[in-house]
């Protein structure tokens, strides 16, 4: 029964581009990117108990690095992609070192402040980032000679990368290392007393989570072929965090469902009215007050209760 559902779901994912129109295929690609972004943030928020409000920094930094190397130095994708991942991961190592000196709300404030510093720099440093105009004229890569310019081709590329990333994230969370991380979320002092290096485990998680954020950033810039400072904004970080919390922090499926909800809401509503920020704020407040545990745990509880009857 469980396997049947999985195979059906896989068939739907593979067959979707043949059934859906270009608009829906592109929307699905964007949902994959948002899901990967949220899943990488969930490593920190859900498994580590470290709420970051600066995760958009990794998406933006990777996207800007890859775009700049291509536009200014004329390097190919086989160089820009690893270089962007490397630079972003190194920055995550530095930011993590700074932010890990605080815990709880201090961590949240420092990640927010650091990401806002990058956002302000993206706006001001126009010699590198072209300021408010953003960087345009980018291309998509062609892995193994396959052009990704058609919506369906990019869909499969994004799907493959997202599945690989989610598998790696799930392996990480399910490993003994992930168990130690969850232990530190719940009982940091006991874990320290047991001889675990709380600081190191959290810092490695921060860097790993930044790496997958950078992968999401590469997918983002390949999809849009354009990058703007708003990618690094507090709104972008808040959207991802809302996805994690709305879906259910600390579960594998939660951030994916949450990111899909946020993305659908954004696309559906912004077609009718321009008040996305207000809606985002209202959804935030409502989720925290009425559904603090998230959609996936909520539905799961409801499902088991219904099955028992």
């Amino acid at each position: 029964m469980k396997w049947l559902v999985r195979i059906l779901f896989g068939l739907v994912l593979v067959g979707f581009p043949m059934l859906g129109g270009d608009f829906y295929v592109n929307l699905a690609s964007q949902i994959f990117i948002a899901a990967l972004f949220a899943a990488s943030l969930n490593l920190l928020v859900g498994y580590g108990g470290l709420v970051s409000l600066g995760h958009a920094a990794w998406v933006g930094l990777a996207a800007y690095t890859s775009a700049w190397l291509y536009l200014r130095l004329g390097l190919g994708h086989s160089v820009t992609a690893p270089a962007a991942l490397l630079l972003t991961t190194l920055m995550a190592a530095l930011f993590g070192w700074i932010a890990m000196h605080a815990s709880g709300l201090g961590f949240l404030m420092i990640t927010l402040a650091l990401a806002q510093v990058l956002w302000g720099t993206a706006y001001r440093w126009s010699a590198v980032t072209n300021g408010d105009n953003g960087l345009s004229g980018l291309t998509r890569p062609a892995p193994f000679g396959i052009a990704l310019d058609k919506p369906a081709a990019f869909y499969y590329f994004a799907l493959a990368v997202t599945i690989l990333a989610l598998w790696m994230i799930a392996r990480f969370a399910g490993s003994p290392f992930g168990a130690a991380l969850r232990g530190m979320r719940d009982e940091p002092r006991r874990m320290a007393a047991l001889g675990h290096n709380v600081w190191l485990v959290r810092w490695i998680t921060f860097v790993y989570s930044g790496f997958w954020g950078a992968v999401a950033g590469l997918l983002f810039v390949y999809y849009h072929k354009y990058i703007h400072p708003s990618t690094l904004s507090l709104t972008a970080s808040a959207e991802a965090l809302l996805g994690v919390i709305a879906g259910g922090a600390g579960t594998l499926a939660g951030p994916i469902v949450g990111a899909a909800i946020v993305m659908l809401l954004k696309n559906y509503v912004s077609a009718y009215l321009e008040r996305w920020n207000m809606l985002l704020g209202i959804v935030f407040v409502l989720i925290v007050i009425f559904m603090p545990e998230g959609v996936v745990p909520g539905v799961r509880r409801w499902w088991t209760r219904w099955r028992r009857q």
Partner: protein, 286 residues
């Protein structure tokens, strides 16, 4: 010479405004353990309300008073109706303040539009003060004066009154403060009211320097956060010193290296976190 004096005055005025913002943020964080992410929005709301009052009555001080009161009212309602039911859920409270900051920012955009609205300084302060061959912009000196007077009043309030002693007790050990009968819950509302009033009035007073524009909240909030990280949570002196350090670094950075002004803000943060993680004047948290 003129450049250095003007930039120093700009730094002092910005430092004063940052103090009005960061003092409330720091007290709220210190007492209630809430990182109030609406604080930048309260500043912006004050600036816009002040602009509206100025259109009806051309008196900046009256506008600052009314703007501060209106924002204080908003703050108290927000604290009582939305934050209070979430007591004990610190993360939920922070997320709600973030959500409300988005709502306020968008409402301001709906009501006041996307163009910056300048606020005029009082006419008698618009002429520069001339001393020898150097001209000082008078209004910036007045802003600095207001911030210093506010700092002294806040210090006296915290250090010399019964109310201040109760707030300090709550910051240091809330459970013990409750146990000896201090009405901590009412203190929460008072501190939130005070912080919101300072932010709102600060927005109006800052209006002639920075005007009211969409994004003012996102520009001010990170500065306030960095001030509090630098100065130490819950410390008035820390907020005061931190405000001026950040204002000088930011102003001179923006004048000398305009592209990298934000990157330079990193440096004091990294330094303080590496050598004194709880901030210059922060106390060991319990």
């Amino acid at each position: 010479m003129q450049f250095w004096i003007i930039q120093t005055l700009n730094s002092l005025a910005l430092g004063g405004l940052l103090f009005l913002l960061a003092a409330g943020f720091s007290l709220i964080f210190g007492l209630m353990r809430i990182a109030n992410l609406t604080h930048g929005s309260l500043f912006m709301l004050g600036a816009y309300l002040g602009a509206t009052v100025l259109r009806l009555v051309p008196n900046l001080w009256l506008a600052a008073l009314l703007g501060g009161l209106a924002v204080a009212l908003f703050g108290v309602l927000f604290e009582r109706l939305i934050l209070r039911p979430l007591t004990g859920n610190a993360l939920g409270q922070v997320l709600v303040t973030l959500g409300v900051s988005f709502i306020v920012a968008d409402l301001c955009l709906v009501i006041w539009g996307g163009d910056p609205i300048p606020l005029a300084a009082p006419a008698y302060l618009q002429r520069p003060l001339v001393l020898g061959s150097i001209a000082f912009p008078a209004y910036r000196l007045v802003v600095l004066g207001i911030a210093v007077v506010t700092a002294i009043v806040l210090h006296l309030l915290m250090d010399r009154t019964r109310l201040g002693a109760m707030i300090r007790a709550g910051v240091d050990d809330m459970a013990m403060a409750r146990a000896v009968g201090i009405p901590v819950s009412r203190l929460f509302s008072f501190v939130f009211l005070l912080g919101a009033a300072l932010a709102g009035a600060g927005g109006v007073i800052g209006g002639p320097i920075m005007s009211a524009y969409p994004g003012l909240d996102a520009d001010m909030l990170p500065l306030a956060l960095i001030v509090v990280i630098l100065g130490g949570v819950g410390s008035l002196l820390g907020a005061f010193v931190g405000s001026f350090i950040i204002a000088f670094i930011y102003t001179f950075g923006a004048a000398l290296l305009p592209d990298l002004a934000y990157v330079i803000l990193f440096l004091p943060m990294i330094a303080v976190i590496a050598f004194r993680p709880r901030g210059l004047f922060g106390r060991q948290s319990t």
